[in-house]
């Protein structure tokens, strides 16, 4: 990995708070219902983690716990939400 690429990865990790991707199963997601406008980007990128209601607005599946292996998808959904409606937290 070049120095440049390594720096970029480090920056991304800091920016997305994903320094501990190895700690699988510790992430939790939440969709802010006041902010979600139903763009459905999260459902398209991470269908395992998000569901839509009859109006097409999104909510997290179950209690929002992110199963091991789906951490990247959780961050991908978060970083594509136009309304910044998705919270990802480390438990």
């Amino acid at each position: 990995m070049s120095r440049h690429v390594r720096d970029k990865v480090a920056r991304d990790n800091v920016r997305h708070n994903r320094g501990n991707v190895a700690m699988a199963g510790k992430l939790k997601i939440h969709v802010d219902q006041d902010k979600c406008q139903g763009h459905a980007r999260c459902k398209s990128l991470a269908p395992e983690l998000f569901d839509l209601d009859e109006f097409g607005n999104a909510h997290e599946v179950g209690d929002g716990s992110v199963p091991a292996g789906l951490e990247e998808k959780a961050y991908l959904a978060q970083s594509n939400c136009p309304e910044i409606a998705i919270e990802v937290t480390e438990e």
């Binding site: 406008q37 459902k43 109006f55 097409g56 970083s79 594509n80 939400c81 136009p82 309304e83």
Partner: protein
Amino acid sequence: MSDSASIMPEHPPVTDWVNDFDHTDPTWTENPFPIWETLRAASPVVHTERFLGCYMPTTYQAVKEISYDTDHFSSRRVIVRDVRPEITARAPPITSDPPEHKPAKQLLLPPFTPDAMKKLEPRVRAICNELIDEFIADGKCDAAARYTKHVPVRAIAHMLGIPEKDGDLFIKWIHGILELGIKDDNALMGAVREMTGYFIGHIEHRRNNPTDDLISTLMKARDKDGQPLADEHILGSLRLLLIAGIDTTWSAIGSSLWHLAKTPADRERLVKEPELMPLAVEELLRAYSPVTMAREVMKETTISGCPVKPGNMVLLSFPAANRDPAMFPDADKVVIDRKENRHAAFGLGIHRCVGSNLARMEMTVAIEEWLKRIPDFKLDPAGRVTWSEGTVRGPRQLPVLFGKTT
């Protein structure tokens, strides 16, 4: 001629974009991207005296602030025009503000969810192939006239439950409203009148012969007091679906094919890696967002530090926001597998395009089916690409040649 009485004087050519911008100027129509860069470098919000006074936010941040501020910025007028006549033909929910907006929008959302679109997808795939069948043997075509235009027309007709063959009428009305109507009030009112008459006939027919299409869905809808919607509300929403659902997606598919025709690397990659389609569609939506909306300033405020005064319109350029380098690295490049992409092509806040899931499905299917049948194509050097003027941007002539060598 009586028709010309309502046409405003031709707009003088623009020499000072920062203080006198005009989104109907031929230079803007042909290639708006360098203009937006100039405007953005000057200020997050610029102003023109044209169109009876109009602002334009040039950054993603300024576009977002205005989109979220329904208190100072009304949606009652959503097209920037030379005139501001009394508001007669409403099209809820796009022309609604809170609190009327939410109930009007809730009615339209269920028929447009991603699941509902999945049911429509096979018909759209068939439409695409029927269209391609008509010209593939010619080895070339005007992709805008023969393909991209007809996909959304036929899809929305199918959803509304009206004959797909009436599509040419819809295209005529939309041209009258969105292009001619900016400068010619008679063209706009004539188109609205004809469209209204057409839909009244379909509504009347369904009173005794209910169907399970979108027109009947609106007729069966009840408001919070259990009352059916007024005919004017139904007609307004039907107007909206037709106006908002056709040349927008026509433009998005057209710009995508235009990009792929002139960018063999991206085209070949999509053919080889079809799993990239979802990311590619979002990136094409970002880079070539077709839709610019408008707001009317109701109360004095500031946007990104710039004072904004009532009496002016706002050209709400989602396309310019999506080219803001402060928001998107390499904003002027199409990065076909861009992973982080919070583009605002379908708007931000409560007015998020109700048809965004339909548009995405149509774009995906139209590009996929085209690439399956015509994996190699390029712009026809003997032809000329032309772009629509005004509020919705996309190619209106897109002559392409098929095959690797010609």
